[in-house]
Structure formats: structure tokens, C-alpha cells
């Protein structure tokens, strides 16, 4: 098999195409330039970071995790602690260590700290949990989320408990979010074609055969879990800087399910699926939101009643999954030139009961 091109040579167009899609959104934001529109694009970029973070673990390992939004929460509070004005911290979050209370860092350091902190937390949690598989692993990750949220919504002196933490510096320009989304895509791609990523994907498809070939499944899962935890932390920090307010409730089931849905609707076993799921569902949600606010059609104002937007998005998701159970991309990657085969050189496997 001397002439077989390397995996990089066969698949490098995938991240390029995905980043071009993201760049198109960035350009659209620059072209329109209005505040609300920019905020919409920022939201999409943040969701791209979160869903790509989920993908690094769920897509490559086949284990559904309900706990990743917990790491998002860790990241969001970390950057809040580091970047808020000392005066606000001293009045609201007295329990923080003095060195944090007295200083204020630029948001770039906040993002970095969020990635490291969330990644470390994921490493510690993963160390314990990664020997579980299937539904037990899913529930265990959910328990991790519940523990994190319970602690953050009750630890008054450090997290402000249920009340929201306000005064986080807001970043309104779009390009930092674009850079982070692009970086998340690149990291996910690099992991997916790395030795560890390939081993993990092999274990996802044929656990027994992979283990027999010397793949240390818990170890490869731990690598993916740690990387994805770090990316989730980045997403949380970006979220905190996009709205300036964090509460523990933001990072619970609602966000868990919407990000998971985007991943599954896009196609959970492909990076392209993660990105496209976010972009397509976000566009649908946005269109419905505009319709809910009221649209002028031929002079007559026409608005959907409250709640219809969510009902419609739920129905759209069900219909997409009915016709494409393996997601919009059918678990294939986008490549150039387009071809019928998946990057692994064989037709994409149909969805069957072999997750976990």
C-alpha cells in the first residue's frame, strides 16, 4: 500500500471548508455591521465552540455525555472571577482568594484560564469516569453536571449562588469569537486525525477489536474528554464575555439539550456535522425569532404567537431526524473535491445501534 496518501493529505480540506463557512459568517457580520446582527453571529460562533467541544468527545468516542455544559459553567465563572473590576468582586464575591480579588486581567487571559481550568476539571472527572461506557457513562457525566451546578448555585461567597454575577467586561466585536470558533475546529480536526483520535474512533466502531489491537480505551477517552472539556470551558468564557452576566441556571439542561440536539441533527460522528448542525439550526431559530417579533408582508404585520418558535424548532428537529437518522451530513465529512466516500475511504456506515 505504498501509494496510499496520508490521512492529512486526504482530509485537510475539511477544516478549510468549515473555516470558510465560519469566515463567511464573519464577513456577513462586517458587511451588515448592526449590533443585533453581530450579536446573532457571536451567538452562532459560541455555539460552534460548544458543539465542536461536545463533538471531540461524543463524536469520537460514541459515548453520549450530558455533563459537558458543567465545564462550560466552570469556564464562564473562571473568566468572570479574573476579569471583573476588583470593586465589584469585593462587594459581591467576598470568598475569593485575595490575589484574585485585588487584580483584574484582560479577557484574553480569562479565556486562557477558562480553558485550562475546565480542561483540568475534565481530566479529574474523566480519570474517574472513563472506564464506564454506554448509558452508565452518560448518567455519570450528568451527575457531574448536577454536582457542578449544585455547588455553583449554592456557594454564595464565591459564585454569588443563584443571583447572577454581573459586571463581566463585554466584548462586542465579532472577530475574537470567530478566531476561537476557528481554533476549536482546528483543534478538533487535529485530535481526530491524531493517533489517539483514530484509536478512539476505532474503539467506537469496534470496541472489542480495538482493545484486542492494543487500544487502551479508557486512556484515549480521557484524552478526548480533557480536550473537549477545555473547549467547553472556552465556550463558557466566550459566553460570559458576550452577555456580561452569568448564572448557574444558564448552564443546565436547556443548554445541554440544545447543544446536543445541534450535534445529533448535524450528524454526531463528523466534525462537519457539528459545525453544520449549529449553523443550520441557528439560522432556522433566528428566522423563527424574527417571525415571532413580526414581519411586514405587503403592509400587513404578521407575527407568530409566543411559543410557536420553540414548537416549530422541535418539530423541525423531529422531521430532520426522521428522514436523516444519522444527521444532516449522514456522519460524513465535507471534503473537496466532493466524493461519495467518507474520508476513511469507505462508504459511511449507516446508523445502527452501535453507539456506546
Amino acid at each position: 500500500m505504498a501509494g496510499r496518501p496520508s490521512i492529512l493529505a486526504r482530509t485537510w480540506t475539511t477544516p478549510v471548508i468549515l473555516i470558510i463557512i465560519l469566515a463567511a459568517l464573519q464577513l456577513a457580520a462586517l458587511a451588515v455591521g448592526s449590533g443585533p446582527f453581530n450579536q446573532t453571529i457571536i451567538e452562532i460562533f459560541i455555539r460552534v465552540v460548544l458543539v465542536v467541544g461536545l463533538y471531540v468527545f461524543i463524536g469520537n468516542s460514541g459515548v453520549i455525555s450530558f455533563g459537558h455544559i458543567g465545564f462550560t459553567c466552570l469556564g464562564a465563572y473562571m473568566t468572570a472571577w479574573l476579569t471583573m473590576l476588583p470593586a465589584i468582586k469585593k462587594s459581591k464575591l467576598k470568598g475569593l482568594p485575595d490575589i484574585i480579588l485585588d487584580n483584574k486581567l484582560a479577557y484574553g487571559w480569562g479565556l486562557l484560564a477558562a480553558v485550562i481550568f475546565a480542561g483540568l476539571a475534565a481530566f479529574v472527572a474523566g480519570k474517574v469516569l472513563m472506564r464506564l461506557s454506554g448509558i452508565a457513562a452518560s448518567i455519570a457525566t450528568f451527575a457531574v453536571l448536577a454536582v457542578i451546578i449544585q455547588v455553583y448555585s449554592n456557594w454564595d461567597s464565591v459564585t454569588g449562588a443563584q443571583s447572577s454575577v454581573v459586571g463581566i467586561p463585554i466584548v462586542r466585536v465579532v472577530w475574537p469569537y470567530f478566531l476561537c470558533a476557528g481554533a476549536a475546529v482546528l483543534v478538533a480536526y487535529a485530535h481526530q486525525i491524531s493517533r489517539s483520535g483514530l484509536a478512539l474512533r476505532a474503539a467506537r466502531d469496534e470496541a472489542t477489536a480495538a482493545a484486542a489491537s492494543g487500544v487502551d480505551i479508557p486512556r484515549e477517552r480521557l484524552v478526548a474528554f480533557t480536550i473537549s472539556g477545555g473547549i467547553m470551558g472556552l465556550g463558557g468564557a466566550l459566553f460570559a464575555h458576550s452577555v456580561g452576566v452569568v448564572t448557574p441556571d444558564t448552564f443546565y439542561l436547556g443548554l445541554t439539550f440544545i447543544t446536543l440536539s445541534m450535534l445529533v441533527v448535524g450528524g454526531m460522528n463528523s466534525l462537519s456535522g457539528a459545525v453544520l448542525g449549529v449553523v443550520i439550526l441557528s439560522i432556522i431559530i433566528q428566522l423563527l425569532r424574527w417571525m415571532e417579533k413580526g414581519v411586514d408582508i405587503g403592509g400587513a404585520s404578521f407575527a407568530l404567537p409566543l411559543g410557536v418558535q420553540e414548537i416549530a424548532i422541535g418539530a423541525v428537529m423531529i422531521v430532520i431526524l426522521m428522514y436523516r437518522p444519522a444527521g444532516l451530513t449522514r456522519n460524513r465529512e465535507l471534503v473537496w473535491p466532493p466524493r461519495k466516500l467518507s474520508p476513511e475511504g469507505r462508504p459511511a456506515a449507516p446508523a445502527d445501534g452501535k453507539t456506546a
Binding site: 448518567i139 455519570a140 454536582v147 446536543l260 411559543g307 410557536v308 420553540e310 428537529m317 431526524l321 453507539t355
Partner: protein
Amino acid sequence: MTALLQILFDALSLGSLYALGALGIALIFGVMRLVNFAHGDYIAFCVFAMLWPSIDAAAIVFAGNLPTVILVPFILAVGAGLSVLSEIVVFRRFRNANPATMMIASFALGFVIKYFLLMLYSSRPKSIDLWSNLTRQIEIAGARIPPLQVITIGVTIVILIALTAFLKRTRFGLEMRAAAENFTMARMLGVRANRVIMLAFAVSGMLAAAVGLILVTQTGTVDIQMGANLMLVAFVATVIGGLGSLPGAVLAGYLIGAATVIMQVVLPPDARPFRDAFVYGAVIVMLIWRPNGLFASRAAKQRV
């Protein structure tokens, strides 16, 4: 002694609710490997079925005014109907999909039900007075216990016995157990798949309705989110019990109920707000100790 009695009743009544919820989820998982995240929204839907649609803060009780002997079967029928309808409209089309896809589809369905309720009733919690005399406390051997707790425990025991009899003594029950054990084999031996699955959905919907009735009597409020938390605990309980195992689901429901009540009593006051964190910590320990659950069903194990 009195304190112990109080703890026992608290634990049993909370555990009963969790056990009923877990049963509803385990029944469906057993026959079709679907983790039904819409279950919590079934619970809320059944409760709202008692009210007339309005977005006012005050609840307009409509069906809730029916006499109890009619109201209870009516709500149970609503639960069963909604559940069967969701199987016909949605889940039937996901027979060959992988579990993750089904799970997200069930979540999307729950989303649709929740916002349908929001559209009709608004998201504000409403208070409703249903059998409120049951929450007035009475004294039993020195412990102050609301009759509702006794009724909850009693009703749960009755439901469990009835369900066991149904599963063990009737033809339908036999078919359901066979389907839960090995679905393909059961079909080959003449069990009609769609009928068994519909039956499982109907029973599961009735369990959701029962949970809804108990919850609304306990709290006196209706809220579109009211089933969510219970559904989560029930979901955790089904996994701890061993997915697909009905006795496991019930036992785990009671265990989580007991753990919650005991932690509330035992933890020092400073740590009490973190009670649920401790409960979920215990869940993690449990899963690592017994990854397949307390009663690992043979069907749940992966074969090579």
C-alpha cells in the same frame, strides 16, 4: 423513635414518586431501548389537562372540578392517550434509529409539548386547590404526617402490585416481558411488536399521570416545568437499577428518595444546601461500583 418514623415516611413517599417515574421510563426502555425524555412533559401535560386554557395568573379549574372517581380515570386516560399518540406520530418512525437519535427526538417532542403548554397557559406557575385537605398534618405515634404521604405510599404499593400482576399473570404482560428480554426473539415467536410497544407507552403514560396527580396535590401549584426534575431523578434511578429491569428501577427510586431525605437530616446545616450535590456524588460512586446497575438485565449486556 418519632423522628425516625417521620424520616421513614418522608423517605418512602419521596421514593414512591421517584419509583413511579422510574417505572414509566424503564417500561419503555425495556421494549424499545428508548430513553424517553418527554416523560416529564407528559406529567405536566396531565396536570394541565385539569385546567381551562388561559394565560391568567389564576388557574381556571375545568376538568379538575369533576368528582374524584371520574377525575382520576380521566387524567390517567389523558396520560395514556398522549403517550400512545406520541408513539404513533413520532417514535414509530424511529424503530431502526440509533439510541442517541431516539433520545434527541424524544427531547424535541418534550420541547414541543412544553411550549404547547406555554402557549396555552403561559409560563407562570399557578396555584390550584386539589384535595388540599390531604396535606393537613395528622399525628401518628407522635410524628406529624400529612395523610397524602400515607396515600402516596399506599397508592404506589397498589400500583406496583397491579403492575406486577399484569406483567406476570396476563398474556399481554407475558408478551411485554418477553419483548423486554429479547425483542427480536419475541417477534419471531409471534409477539406483535407494535401492540406491545403501544401497550408499554399506555402504561407509562398512566404512570406519568399518577405522578402528576400526586405532585400537584403535594405542591398545590402547576407549572410547565413541574415534571422536569422528577424525570431526571427517575432517569438516574432507572440506570442505577439496571436499565430494563423494572424491580431495579423501583428499588433505585426508593434508594434515591431515602438518600435525599437522610442527607437532609444527617448533613451539617452548612452543607445542607449542597444536598443534591452529595446525592449525585453518591450516584457516581454507585455507577462506578456497579456500572450495569443493581439488577443488570442480561439483555442490556453487549455481546461480542
